[in-house]
């Protein structure tokens, strides 16, 4: 039997290769978040000073919605041809599959953020007043917080009617502290009024708690049929 990490890596590379060849989820996400950004630009026309206070919220709302588009696709591919059933009967550890899926989504959503963030800077004439490098840990930890729970709840909503609708209904309430951490952290960095350290610690705690919970309970969810 192959080791845990080689199975994770194999699943991850398979997913990324498939995504790279089809670009289904990525294109849908990019266009979706572009639309959200444009609608926000029409809805709010703030001054530079005001925009620093609200952009943190706008950015993360756009990414949250776009991430849901990607997360809904996570397991859809495995449902065709009963691939998920094959996973269930295989001796491969369930958590290897989960980690691979979560990491795949993480790569996808991070790529989206890297492409979309410059648009916000252009549309809202942003200039960061605080320590800009702290945006990187906030973005990475925040993305992981969304993606790890999103992958888990996407697996859970596989067994429900109107699956695509269920994911945000399950994901958003649990994500509230993470969203608060991301938004408040980003706003603090943009305005430079107060330090964002607490929010980085909060996001880190959230990530550790929920990654552990997901890994502990994923097998139960995968086997539930």
């Amino acid at each position: 039997m192959r080791s845990f990490w080689s199975i994770t890596l194999a699943t991850l590379t398979k997913d990324i290769r498939l995504e790279w060849r089809s670009k289904d989820a990525l294109n849908a996400m990019l266009f979706f978040s572009l639309l959200v950004v444009v609608i926000f630009v029409f809805s709010f026309d703030p001054l530079a000073e005001e925009s620093r206070h609200i952009v943190g919220g706008l950015v993360w709302v756009a990414f949250l919605f776009a991430a849901v588009v990607a997360l809904n696709q996570t397991w859809a591919r495995e449902l065709r041809n009963q691939v998920l059933d094959a996973y269930r009967v295989s001796p491969a550890p369930a958590n290897a599959l989960f980690l691979a899926k979560a990491l795949g989504n993480f790569v996808l959503v991070s790529l989206l953020e890297a492409l979309m963030a410059p648009l916000f800077v252009i549309f809202y004439n942003l200039r960061v007043l605080g320590p800009a490098w702290q945006l990187i840990p906030v973005a990475l930890l925040g993305t992981w917080a969304l993606v790890v729970n999103g992958t888990f709840f996407a697996a859970m909503s596989l067994r429900t009617r109107s699956r695509e609708l269920m994911l945000p209904l399950l994901l958003f309430p649990v994500s509230i502290p993470a969203v608060l951490g991301m938004v408040a952290g980003t706003t603090n960095i943009l305005t430079g009024e107060s330090p964002a350290h607490f929010y980085i610690v909060l996001l880190l705690t959230y990530d550790v708690v929920f990654t552990t919970a997901c890994l502990a309970l994923f097998e139960t969810v995968l086997q539930a049929e």
Binding site: R159, T160, R161, L169, L170, P173, P177, L180, F210, A213
Partner: protein, 305 residues
């Protein structure tokens, strides 16, 4: 057991009327807020009851997940015992004692941990397997109702006293709202799930929700200390007569919640029995086992329990 139900119902009705009388006529009027404060006798008991019910839901869900395998059941048992011992001893250690908020005694914290541990074992003793899940769905539904009462009476009280309907940065308001949202999503999951393993998925979601609540509390706590909100009352000491009425009111609400939970529990048990009986009938009929002469005894046809 069944005969106790109407007796308890009548007692609860009397108790609720008595609490209502105490709240409106016996309790003294608040010096600052006037009569409007009397909504506290409905707001606070509902909140305590809702939190208690959600906590029972969490314990039932953990038990349900842990009982899937004997090894995890044993591990969970020892973890709970360890939490109980640490929680009982820790408040008396001087370093920890200083960290406790003002007005909270170490002995009360220790008692709370003892009750939590006890509750885990009591529920584990009297509810097994599917009954744990029935208990979980019952407490979640009734808890959402009580939590809704809290969220409706809160703004009604806040408007005349604080001048605003809702304080977005307040710790208790926000965590109650998030708790309500989590449990509504829990009920939605139960309703929409197709799988025969809905119970397991729901139990997993309940555990996630319980993990979420301390994080919400923690995040808002910092958020608020950064942006102080002077409108939020709280703290201070309460007139003992008011506290007395508040506790009477809470007892009445607990009785009411118990009554509703009991009836919902029985309903859910019956619903499952009917489902099982229907499944059994549809299995037996095509095979020709249920001929006209041999009437299948389904659980439905049994006498009153």
């Amino acid at each position: 057991m069944k005969r106790a139900f109407p007796i308890l119902a009548v007692l609860t009705a009397f108790f609720l009327v008595y609490a209502f009388y105490q709240a409106l006529w016996v309790a003294p009027t608040d010096a600052l807020q006037g009569d409007v404060y009397r909504i506290i006798y409905y707001h606070v008991p509902s909140a305590w009851t809702a939190f208690l019910l959600f906590f029972i839901n969490f314990i039932a869900s953990v038990q349900y997940l842990a009982n899937a395998r004997p090894s995890t059941a044993r591990a969970a048992k020892w973890i709970v015992i360890a939490i109980g011992i640490i929680g009982f001893v820790a408040p008396f250690i001087p370093q920890v004692k200083q960290q406790l908020p003002i007005g909270m005694y170490p002995s009360s914290v220790a008692t709370m941990f003892l009750i939590i541990t006890g509750l885990y074992f009591v529920i584990g003793k009297y509810f097994v397997d599917q009954n744990l899940d029935v208990l979980a769905v019952t407490t979640a539904e009734v808890g959402v109702v009580f939590c809704s009462i809290v969220l409706v009476t809160g703004p009604i009280w806040a408007r005349p006293v604080w001048g605003i309907w809702w304080a977005p940065g307040d710790i208790r308001l926000t965590s109650t709202l998030v708790l309500w949202l989590i449990y509504v999503s829990y009920l939605v999951l139960r309703r929409f799930s197709d799988s025969a393993q809905t119970q397991k998925l729901a139990a997993v979601l309940a555990v996630f929700g319980a993990l979420d609540v301390p994080l919400v509390y923690f995040s808002i706590w910092f958020f608020r200390t950064q942006h102080p909100q002077p409108v939020i009352g709280g703290g201070g000491s309460m007139d003992p007569r008011m506290l007395h009425v508040l506790l009477i009111s809470w007892m009445a609400f607990l009785c009411f919640a118990f009554l509703v939970c009991w009836s919902r529990y029985r309903l859910e048990k019956l619903r499952r029995e009917v489902e099982e009986a229907e499944a059994l009938e549809s299995l037996l009929e095509p095979a020709g086992l249920a001929g006209p002469s041999s009437v299948v005894k389904t659980p439905l046809s049994r006498g009153s329990k």
